[in-house]
């Protein structure tokens, strides 16, 4: 009797939980669903006020994707995004591993002040610096090329990854390093062979966030690059598919879907890293 009552209670509470969650999930996912539906809908149906907007009634078409592939530089934008994200993330990661280890583990004068400086730059938003940086990029002679972004993206990636990695390095027991040093390993060997392998989850996490942040970055990519051949996927889709007053809604949505695909794939595989990185970045920070 008692167990039946608790079971009924559990079912009722589960029902309550999931029915309360449903509106949140709907709110979170609907824009993506609508994006997808719109990208496969014919223009005739898209611009018919009498048709139901939620699904496709007159058959799915791929014309919007063809326009994207053959009438725009979409593949070039995707290639640019990939190069920029991979290179900027790799360089930033290397710099951040060194700095993060130093700030988390070594003792020297001013280490606390440097840690604070990294934290402050972590909080400086790109919107504060984009105007002077646009001039720096011109002076360096790299404006309007993907180098403008490869050089400037580490400005927000390095503080972020350093801060994240400092937290991970602190969790590694100090005795392990001390043993290696006593055994005659140099400090660099200790870092690369002993500490790094133990910090792999943190490094994966920093790499994932680095890739996501650079792929998604908007204001620098919009400001520093104006020729189509150097644009990133996000800016290319947002800016080049609107010509005058004509909006290619189908192709805009198709571009938004495809340019999100790399992030979605990584996200699905590494979901748990995203969850842990998000909480670590904020709570430890």
């Amino acid at each position: 009797m008692a167990s039946a009552a608790t079971r009924a209670g559990r079912i009722r509470s589960g029902l309550y939980t999931y029915s309360s969650l449903a509106p949140f999930i709907f709110f979170a996912l609907f824009p993506f669903y609508f994006m997808l539906v719109t990208s496969f809908k014919s223009n005739a149906e898209l611009y018919n006020l009498k048709s139901i907007p939620f699904w496709i009634q007159t058959g799915a078409i791929t014309d919007h994707y063809s326009l994207l592939f053959f009438k725009t530089d979409f593949f070039i934008w995707m290639k640019n995004s990939l190069i920029i994200s991979v290179v900027a993330t790799a360089v930033s990661l290397l710099i951040s591993i060194l700095a993060g280890y130093s700030l988390a583990r070594l003792r020297f004068a001013g280490v606390g002040a440097f840690g604070t400086a990294v934290f402050i730059t972590y909080l400086v938003p790109p919107t504060l610096l984009f105007l002077p940086l646009s001039q720096v990029v011109v002076w360096l002679g790299i404006s309007d090329s993907i180098w403008a972004l490869i050089v400037t993206y580490p400005t927000f990636l390095v503080p972020f990854s350093t801060w994240l990695l400092m937290g991970y390095f602190r969790t590694i027991p100090k005795e392990v390093e001390e043993c290696a040093l006593v055994d005659g390993a140099t400090r660099m060997q200790t870092l690369w062979r002993i500490v790094l392998p133990m910090a792999v989850p943190g490094i994966v996490c920093a790499a994932l966030f680095g890739f996501t942040l650079t792929w998604n970055e908007f204001i620098y990519a919009l400001t520093f690059v104006s020729q189509s051949a150097s644009k990133t996927a996000v800016v290319g889709v947002t800016a080049d598919l609107i010509r005058g007053d004509i909006y290619y809604w189908g192709s805009l949505m198709a571009g938004a879907v495809l340019a999100s695909v790399p992030i979605v794939i990584i996200y699905v595989i590494f979901l748990d890293y995203y969850v842990s990185g998000l909480t670590a970045g904020a709570v430890k920070g």
Binding site: S102, T152, A256, L278
Partner: protein
């Protein structure tokens, strides 16, 4: 006593060469420590600190694209403070930030409290909830733009069919307060996952015994929330709110894609106005002054954040 070369020879060791001495020097903790942070420090000095200094200089000059300006003191700031559009922007920024952060906090705590109860579908629910935060904001905002279209808005279509709105429904992005509501909606949509997931991590770390003790004392579910959950979540919520305040206040993507600051500048934020004046208009001096107005807010938040981190 110093160890001379003869002692080393006697011990079977060769005289330390230049390379060895360099290595020894490098192996010292402080040298190694400074060496490792040097690349990061150089980068941040050249591409964050220096541009920040430039921004201050720009803001004190009449610098236009292509013509190095001269020093004009606080003229840009004075001009801005008496400028109608700028005043509107200040007001917009506060309305936008306060409403969006409050909504994200309340909904985020609520969502986290629901998520902590999910057992079987935990991973799926988290994956769905976090998605808006991961997808490029500029791209997902395109979808919202289409959903708020003046003629084909799916929001209006649904509301009209449900009898909530009368035909034709509001022109979301064309009317002042509706445009602000739209921009806030998208910001809440995109920022909610950050709140929910972080608060969830805080909730999970609360020991079960606390709730059991409260239950024994006869606390209602509201009482448990008010006197157990909320006080224990306070540190987490404080950090998330401070973070989110910075990133909401300095937001650019959503407004740029959705409204470009319109209609009639009623949704302009500091960042979008700085972009319009500094880059589209070419007035770098005044643009820099606009973005520097973000700084006092930023400094205040950093101050509280640092004080909080120190307390930890």
């Amino acid at each position: 006593m110093a160890v001379g070369p003869r002692v080393l020879e006697a011990a079977g060791l060769s005289q330390p060469g230049r390379l060895n001495r360099l290595r020894e020097w490098w192996e010292q903790e402080h040298v190694f420590g400074y060496g490792l942070i040097l690349p990061a420090l150089l980068l941040l000095a050249c591409l964050v600190a220096y541009p920040f200094g430039m921004a201050i200089y720009f803001s004190l000059s009449d610098y236009w694209v292509g013509s190095p300006g001269r020093f004009i003191g606080f003229e840009n700031y004075r001009a801005l403070l008496s400028n109608e559009v700028f005043r509107q922007t200040v007001q917009n920024s506060f309305v936008f930030t306060i409403i969006a952060v409050v909504l994200k906090t309340v909904l985020g705590i609520w969502l986290a409290m629901l998520m902590v109860r999910t057992m079987k579908l935990k991973r799926l629910v988290r994956g769905a909830v976090l998605l808006p935060w991961v997808i490029p904001t500029a791209l997902s905002t395109l979808a919202w733009w289409w959903m708020f279209d003046s003629l084909y808005s799916v929001v209006n279509w649904t509301a009209i069919r449900l009898g909530i709105m009368s035909v034709p429904g509001p022109n979301w992005l064309g009317q002042a307060s509706y445009a602000m509501a739209a921009v806030i909606t998208v910001n809440v949509w995109r920022g909610l996952p950050f709140f929910a997931i972080t608060v969830l991590a805080g909730l999970v770390s609360i020991p079960r015994e606390f709730y059991e003790a409260a239950e024994v004392d006869g606390a209602s579910s509201w009482g448990r929330f008010r006197y157990v959950t909320l006080p224990l979540l306070k540190p987490v919520i404080a950090v998330v709110v401070l973070f989110s305040t910075i990133f909401t206040f300095t937001d650019f993507n959503i407004v740029y894609v959705l409204t470009r600051g319109g209609p009639m500048n009623t949704t302009h934020l500091f960042a979008t106005l700085a972009y319009q004046v500094g880059l589209n208009g070419g007035n770098l001096g005044q643009g820099a002054a606009i973005s520097l107005f973000l700084f006092p807010m930023l400094a205040a938040v950093i101050f509280y954040q640092l004080r909080y981190v120190r307390q930890e």
